[in-house]
Symmetry: C2
Subunit: 356 residues, 2 copies
Amino acid sequence: MKFRVLAQRGKARAGVLETERGEIETPIFMPVGTAGTVKGMTVGELAAPPLDARIILGNTYHLYLRPGLDVIGAHGGLHRLIGWDRPILTDSGGFQVFSQGDSAKIDDDGVTFRSHIDGSSHRITPERSIEIQATLGSDIAMAFDECPPGGAPREIVLRAMARTTAWARRCLDGPLASGQVLFGILQGGADVGLRRRHLDELGPMPFAGFAMGGFSVGEPIADMYAALDSFADELPADKPRYLMGVGTPEDITRAVAAGVDMFDCVMPTRNARNGQLFTSEGKLVISHARHRMATGPVDPECPCETCTRYSRAYLRHLFFAKEILYSRLATLHNLTHYMRLVRRLRAELLDSQGFK
Amino acid sequence: MKFRVLAQRGKARAGVLETERGEIETPIFMPVGTAGTVKGMTVGELAAPPLDARIILGNTYHLYLRPGLDVIGAHGGLHRLIGWDRPILTDSGGFQVFSQGDSAKIDDDGVTFRSHIDGSSHRITPERSIEIQATLGSDIAMAFDECPPGGAPREIVLRAMARTTAWARRCLDGPLASGQVLFGILQGGADVGLRRRHLDELGPMPFAGFAMGGFSVGEPIADMYAALDSFADELPADKPRYLMGVGTPEDITRAVAAGVDMFDCVMPTRNARNGQLFTSEGKLVISHARHRMATGPVDPECPCETCTRYSRAYLRHLFFAKEILYSRLATLHNLTHYMRLVRRLRAELLDSQGFK
């Protein structure tokens, strides 16, 4: 995997990440395919315009539990199971495990947790996380980290940083799949001093890219913005910078300006299913009575099938009728909004530097 | 609307129904779009190969209640609301109202019922049914009929026939939408004598086609087959014959042999969502443990995206994870199975008569 920065304006960068499964033009948004599917979408739709997603995310925790590594292995990996031949990034499983709350018991060696599906007990260590991700065969694997909640006491954040550093070394020792690369994850909460300290520890390690974890986990948004503005640009300039689990279109715009290259978030897909649509004029709540007779599109500036073919009134009807088609069309639209956003940010950067 | 029989073998016919919105090649299966969407599918998918649906069905009862006639009218009709420019057939609303059970009160003039959505009271008469269907703007409207349950006592069937005959005359008086035609509905249960009597009453009326209602409503399957074998061919030969709400692939094959041209049924779409897939080797229950590691397709003979791109194991995973994509892929496959069935029956008929 090779990463090149093509244009820079202030701290913002436009680049390209070359992988064996195709080029990823940055800044990039990665649709989240938790359980082996970006909810509501086919891989064909994800790859075709106007989405043209270059990389999607899979959740190690969910895939490990269901369908299970034997099933995925029998298919020769996640790509072939789900029919997607472009790059996939897998998280380490840690964040999802910790999200189970009290049922997850963490120690210096790893974490023991119960399945949310059947209550069975499982253990993931850094070595096991890498082993699982190698079986999934993702293009980008993530180091196993501990992510404390937003506003956690300093000693908790410090302990999570220490564990994450120790685990990062162990992850780097694990055998990856052919062509797979590993990204490290930086913790330290919203405290720039702690972030720098953790970067001092992980920065020299031979990761192919660096992620910032532990943002958008309950801290005030202003704290995240302040930390990103001060810190994101300090990550190694020759490697991709990935802000995990963030965020709104505004968050992404702000983070790109701060020097971030990669994003993922369930917001466009989850909000779509819940009735919240992103438009060029702000958020639209499809259940509102004012859309009942609205024969116009969700967003007249959007080129997606939802906006070119259907009215707000029809979408509102499908939403109330709990029709599958609502979730499909709403997801297609919100993802299109996000993909257009990062492509526009990229085009503006290239344009400002004389690229066409 | 013009109907021509192109080939006949025994009682079975291959024909073409010419409408202002395109040709419908018979025998035809009409996917059911109850609430303004064939559940899980886009209109683009329905129109594209391998589905290439030529006509879909909309349910007057559901659409009248939600989104409501004002919303549909504001869009200029059902076609434009749902983005489908091929023909649509609407039922009369009667069958769906009677399916509400005791809350529907029927009299000689019409039926009063409560909405399954909000409990509000509504009344549909033959005139009102035609008025609603004219607002929907379907290409084929159905006369308002009374459909007694399978095995109903003879006097109930006789009263339903009498009402249906009286209502048929009233429906024929109603103003249709531009280009819209009206089909009559024959009742009489599984009793061929009663069926003939009802055909004597309705057959001379100027309907553009005739449907057989009151089959597959709880009677033994052998009774339906016997009635179809004796009776279907007695319907006017120069008009399309439509068997409402039927059925399995076997039912359709049998009914085509008996002389039926048109079919609709929720079976392919509903069974798909419930985990039952139709294949060239019979029914497949996707939840079965034997599919857990199955890397092969649902049906190796099927050209649909589900079968060419995904494994049974992946579909089983999506089914258990309650993923939207499962319903999409399963529906696409089952509908493909049905559309291929009627196209094959048609091709065999044309082929046997020297057509290519």
